[in-house]
């Protein structure tokens, strides 16, 4: 963390960048939030630890419009999103000074709490530089320990890799955290009977309160105006609980980002209701990989996206239901 702060100070001082985009400490030990830092003074609040899950690439859309360059801290997985935004001309590469920061897996406070750890006062072992494999958590009920991996976000268990896809410089080492297969969860649902599938999604989607957190956090959901807020589809009747968007919101959202979603997992991370929203996006990714060849959005900035591409021999829609 200190290395990042030091570098940020240098870059601010020599005028390379006009501001730094990173995270600052929140009011609790586990809720740092994205923040801009424009002076050395402000940087004293800068933090970077296991709870800095937020993907900052989406902030670069706005930062690209500001005067001067912005130093942005991107974790390996965030760089996919940045690349995808670059491909869609939403961010300006020249306005970004990308510091690829190391990552040893990000922590999921909800998961920690679910394991009965409440009243948290401080957490040790969440620092990136910390080699410890366990978290030491001071609570008002005393000290608790938890293996780091048991506190990780789902997305880190299926990590895409330690490499930054795009960067100006790299600070810090990343750790291999992948210990599960990315599509296992999707495959499990695919194997269910239609009744089970429906029951599963109905129960999950019934939790949705339409707070739009998923949409706001998603780097692919970067439209200036969401179709659900415009009158282009007659789909913007928010007040009506029985309206079109209420039922179809998540399917449509997943379709809109299909082929563009990098599987960064922000939607699931930010959902206050804990809906596993990534299961929608990942289903599309799995289908795309299986039907049209492996494709990872954000891996590059010039390949054709699967939905703006075709081959003469593409599978017919009737393949659905014929597969296993």
């Amino acid at each position: 963390m200190q290395a990042i702060i030091n570098r940020a100070k240098e870059l601010l001082a020599d005028g390379t960048v006009a501001r730094v985009l990173g995270w600052k400490a929140g009011d609790l030990p586990y809720n740092p939030e994205p923040a801009y830092f424009e002076t050395e003074e402000e940087l004293k609040d800068f933090v970077y630890n296991g709870f800095c899950g937020a993907n900052l690439s989406k902030y670069m859309i706005e930062a690209s419009k500001l005067e001067g360059k912005t130093m942005v801290c991107l974790k390996p997985c965030d760089t996919y999103s940045f690349n995808q935004l670059l491909k869609e001309h939403r961010v300006d590469r020249d306005k970004a000074y990308i510091v690829g920061v190391g990552c040893k897996g990000k922590l999921d406070i909800e998961r920690i709490k679910k394991q009965g750890i409440k009243g948290i006062e401080s957490i040790e072992g969440a620092e990136i530089s910390d080699e410890a494999e366990t978290l030491k958590i001071q609570t008002i009920y005393g000290e608790k320990t938890l293996p780091y991996a048991d506190a990780m976000l789902e997305r880190c268990h299926v990590c895409k890799g330690k490499e930054h896809m795009v960067f100006d410089e790299q600070i810090g080492e990343s750790k291999e955290t992948k210990d599960a297969e990315r599509f296992d969860e999707v495959a499990k649902i695919e194997a269910m009977s239609p009744e089970e599938k429906f029951a599963f999604f109905q129960s999950e989607l019934s939790k949705c309160i339409r707070c739009n957190a998923c949409r706001n956090a998603c780097p692919a959901c970067s439209c200036r105006k969401c179709v659900f807020d415009s009158n282009k589809f007659d789909s913007s009747q928010k007040a009506n609980a029985d309206s079109f968007e209420e039922k179809m919101f998540h399917i449509i959202r997943a379709f809109h980002v299909a082929g563009r979603c990098t599987d960064c997992g922000e939607c699931s991370r930010v959902c206050p209701q804990g809906i596993p929203l990534h299961l929608f996006n990942r289903k599309f990714i799995k289908d795309i990989d299986e039907l049209y060849g492996e494709y990872q959005a954000g891996e590059d900035t010039d390949s054709k996206a699967p939905l703006t591409n075709y081959t003469f021999e593409d599978a017919e829609p009737s393949i659905v239901g014929k597969r296993g």
Partner: protein, 662 residues
């Protein structure tokens, strides 16, 4: 709020017999925005159109719905009627209650209910219609004719005579096509070359006609009035400007084993060759696969004997890019492959030949120099049997389901010519039906029977069995005498089905012209627009559209030319205003739409926008309305819904969906 008028057509009894039209009109009055509804016998008639005009003016209608036949039939009619009455033509919607309702449903109640729903959907849509203005695009005053047979030549001549530049692209080394392979033509028996050659010469000498032989269309882009075409001029290895057409190279060429395409493979030609004596241009090409120089690097005799120094082994294919306003397809036909017809012994015996091969056999420039002889042993045949409908009218996968149309007549011609020249030869024709609708056609056929004594037997041949002595035993049936016939013949001629040139599929794809299951190009309307493709600016000439004989081909070629001229004569074309439009305030500038546009109609500009007080420069999509054809691919690709299609907007389609599901 729109003021909508609904007009329900009876179409005589076509609609009214199954749909309660007055009920549809009554129900319409209850729909939002509808201020006028009426039904009438024939809405498309002048009186019907007058009713629409009157209602528009009297009731101040801002939109109309006509419940009638398919919009593909009369949308244009009603749009024009509305326009004459002062209403924007794009404020007209059609509810198709004939093809999609009255004609397919029998129960009146059910059909009426459906008609009401279709009307509702159209009303819901027209409520959201906005007046649209057609744009303009320019017309390149030059036509492309693909195929240099009689159809292509005639079309090119007619267009050129009207004063427009025409390019003919012909795949083979010479223009002339199938007609150049024919000996005589029915029903007047003129020599084919005698009537074709002058036309070929005229085309090549015409100052407005430019001929690319040994060339193929490689790529087509653009749209009506403004096509851009890449033509691949294959390397001839002979300099067209230097060659004098003396023919010495062909004489001296040591490689003479290549099968002559022109003579249907019945004899051979040299590796450097012109397909036939009257070829235009009279410049040979080198068949690289047969040429010893290309195969071994040694030889070069043609180059040595060419006094003009025209041989150029280094010549490369050349791509010519040219712009055209109209394209005429005249790709013609070939005979089908007979491999699957074992019973006729075509591949087993040299003496079983197709009618096109017989043309070459009877032709003085053919493999037998015009002598009628068996190809196996050169003997003069005494007994010839013709078999009709080989592969035509066949519903299995061996042949074609259609009638090839020309076989009855050319068989009568062949039979007659043989009997005329060789009166001692017996000629028998096995037929299923003799079809001779055409001027002087039946008289011609009857002459073959009555004057020339050709033996016509009603019944198909079941099998041709080559005998050890070289004869062919033909087993057929005589359905009128009800007996089976076993007859020995010296020669059997198969009236082989014709099919569109196999290349046409590739060409149709490039042109985005539709094609039917038999690979014939589809016409815009089977009866009323027979020489136009549904794709604007593409016209059809000759057999590529359907089987036809020479007189018909020439007539259609002229018709296609007239249609093309009609297009070229315009300085500007009104473009379809149902194009995509991007909302600058919603556009992300993400380039997704650009990636799916087949016409390259979308580009990006940095535009100053004022988004609710925020002024900034944004990268936004801009649609070129002249290029956009209105497919709508971009509208679905667009994640933010900024891209919408005029005339088929998201809200309009959703309104239709809602109305139907209501």
């Amino acid at each position: 709020m729109q003021r909508i008028g609904v007009f329900v057509c009876h179409c005589g009894s076509n609609i009214a017999a199954t749909v309660d039209v007055s009920k549809v009109a009554e129900t319409a009055l209850m729909e939002p925005g509808v201020v006028h509804a009426e039904d009438y016998q024939y809405m498309c008639s002048e009186a019907g159109q007058a009713k629409i005009a009157a209602a528009i003016q009297e009731k101040g209608l801002t939109g109309i719905v006509v419940c009638s036949c398919s919009p593909r039939m009369h949308e244009a009619t009603f749009r024009k009627a509305a326009e004459r009455a002062g209403l924007n033509p794009y404020m007209v919607e059609i509810a198709n209650i004939r093809e999609h309702c009255s004609w397919i449903h029998k129960d009146m109640e059910e059909a009426t209910k459906k008609a009401v729903i279709l009307m509702r959907a159209a009303v819901a849509k027209v409520n959201l219609n906005t007046p649209l203005q057609a744009g303009e695009s320019r017309v390149t005053k030059r036509a492309l004719v693909i195929g240099g047979g009689i159809a292509g030549i005639q079309t090119a001549l007619d267009i050129a005579d009207a004063g427009y530049e025409v390019d003919i692209v012909e795949k083979t080394p010479s223009i002339g096509g199938r007609m150049s392979q024919l000996d005589k033509t029915f029903p007047t028996l003129d020599c084919s070359a005698c009537i074709l050659t002058p036309k070929m010469v005229e085309a090549s000498a015409h100052e407005k006609i430019n001929i690319y032989t040994y060339s193929e269309v490689e790529k087509v882009s653009g749209f009506v009035g403004d096509f851009t075409v890449d033509i691949r001029k294959k390397a001839r290895c002979v300099d067209m400007d230097k060659c004098t057409g003396c023919g010495v190279c062909q004489e001296k060429c040591p490689s003479k084993k290549a099968l002559s395409e022109f003579n249907r493979g019945l004899n051979t030609r040299s590796a450097i060759y012109t397909p036939f004596a009257q070829a235009i241009p009279n410049v040979p090409v080198i068949d690289r696969e047969a040429c010893i120089k290309f195969k071994t690097g040694k030889c070069g005799i043609c180059s040595k004997v060419c006094q003009a120094g025209a041989i150029d082994y280094e010549q490369k294919d050349e791509i010519i890019t040219e712009k055209y306003g109209a394209i005429v397809v005249a790709t013609g036909f070939d005979t089908i492959n007979l491999d699957k017809y074992d019973e006729y012994a075509y591949s087993q015996s040299k003496d079983v030949i197709t009618s096109l091969e017989l043309e070459r056999v009877m032709n003085a420039a053919g493999p037998t120099h015009g002598h009628l002889e068996r190809l196996s042993d050169g003997k003069a045949p005494k007994e010839i049997i013709f078999i009709q409908c080989v592969g035509s009218r066949c519903s299995d996968d061996r042949g074609k389901p259609y009638c090839s149309k020309i076989c009855c007549m050319y068989t009568a011609k062949h039979a007659m010519l043989i009997r005329d020249k060789y009166p001692d030869v017996n000629v028998t024709v096995f037929y299923i039906d003799v079809r001779t609708p055409g001027k002087n056609f039946d008289e011609f056929y009857r002459r073959a029977v009555e004057q020339y004594g050709v033996n016509y037997i009603k019944g198909q041949v079941g099998k041709v069995i080559p005998q050890p002595d070289g004869k062919l035993l033909v087993q057929g049936s005589d359905l009128l005498d009800n007996r089976q016939i076993l007859k020995e013949a010296d020669m059997v001629v198969l009236a082989t089905a014709i099919e569109p040139n196999p290349d046409v599929r590739k060409i149709a794809t490039m042109l985005t012209a539709s094609i039917d299951t038999n690979n014939f190009l589809t016409e815009a309307h089977a009866k009323l627009r027979p020489v136009e493709s549904p794709t604007a600016g593409i016209f059809l000439s000759g057999v590529c559209q359907g089987p036809k004989d020479i007189p018909e081909t020439v007539a259609q070629a002229g018709a296609a030319a007239v249609k093309a001229i009609g297009l070229l004569a315009k300085d500007k074309l009104l473009t379809n205003p149902c194009t995509a439009q991007s909302d600058v305030l919603l556009c992300n500038g993400c380039s997704t739409c650009e990636n799916v546009c087949p016409y390259g109609a979308i580009s990006y500009e940095d535009k100053e926008v004022n988004d609710h007080g925020i002024r900034e420069t944004r990268r936004v999509a801009v649609v070129n309305n002249a290029l956009c054809q209105g497919c709508g691919a971009c509208t679905v690709a667009c994640p933010s819904g900024a891209m919408d299609l005029q005339g088929f907007s998201n809200r309009q389609i959703i309104a239709e969906v809602d109305a139907i599901c209501r």
